[in-house]
């Protein structure tokens, strides 16, 4: 999967540590998701979507898929 997490985080001027704190995960987890090394579970993906106020498909999409 590819995602827009880094862009959304940058728009809010949050550091990875800020985002990690809001999601109750480690900074390494945020970094791994942003770099595409780790795909989050559905509950975490929902938490991310809720935090940014966007549907999941607007943040995550399959490799090569079009973004919303």
């Amino acid at each position: 999967m590819i995602n827009r997490l880094r862009v959304l985080r940058a728009e809010r001027e949050w550091s990875q540590a800020d985002l990690a704190k809001r999601l109750h995960v480690s900074r390494q987890t945020v970094n791994a998701i942003e770099t595409g090394k780790y795909d989050p579970s559905l509950p975490l993906a929902f938490a991310i979507a809720r935090l940014f106020g966007q549907p999941i498909e607007a943040i995550f999409s399959p490799n090569g898929g079009a973004h919303a």
């Binding site: 109750h24 995960v25 480690s26 390494q28 987890t29 970094n31 791994a32 090394k37 780790y38 989050p40 579970s41 975490l44």
Partner: protein
């Protein structure tokens, strides 16, 4: 009342340390020939209790982690399991062929813990690098 994982882990650690202290005392008593035959089973198995506490604490520690950290631990444990199994099997076969000394389980079990710890450390190094 439910304990928080950290509080639970601290309690497990304290109990494990207490058992270790008791084991030390029993070990000295055994060396001096002060353990009566009726208590040999209990005295011999006393050092096992801290290990039980260790794994209970480890389980609680895992519960405090997020999903990626748990995945890292799982993959590291898989490497540890594989590495330990391969080394033990290889050593056992070499001992059968009389290439290395055939150490009995009574003498070689401490090495198993060392091997498990080393395997886990190697696993951590490999898996953490993967998700960096």
């Amino acid at each position: 009342m439910e304990c928080s994982p950290n509080r639970y882990s601290k309690r497990s650690l304290l109990l494990a340390l207490l058992c270790l202290l008791l084991s030390l005392i029993v070990g000295i008593a055994r060396r001096e020939g002060l353990v009566p035959p009726s208590l040999r089973w209990a005295a011999a198995l006393l050092p096992v209790l801290p290990m039980v506490g260790y794994f209970v604490g480890l389980g609680q520690w895992l519960k405090t982690m997020d999903e990626l950290q748990r995945l890292i631990q799982l993959e590291a444990l898989l490497i540890q399991f594989g590495l330990t199994g391969i080394v033990v099997m290889a050593y056992g076969l070499l001992a059968k062929f009389e290439v290395v000394p055939n150490t009995g389980i009574a003498d070689s079990w401490p090495w198993l813990w060392l091997l498990l710890f080393l395997g886990w450390s190697v696993g951590q190094l490999i898996v953490r690098r993967k998700y960096r």
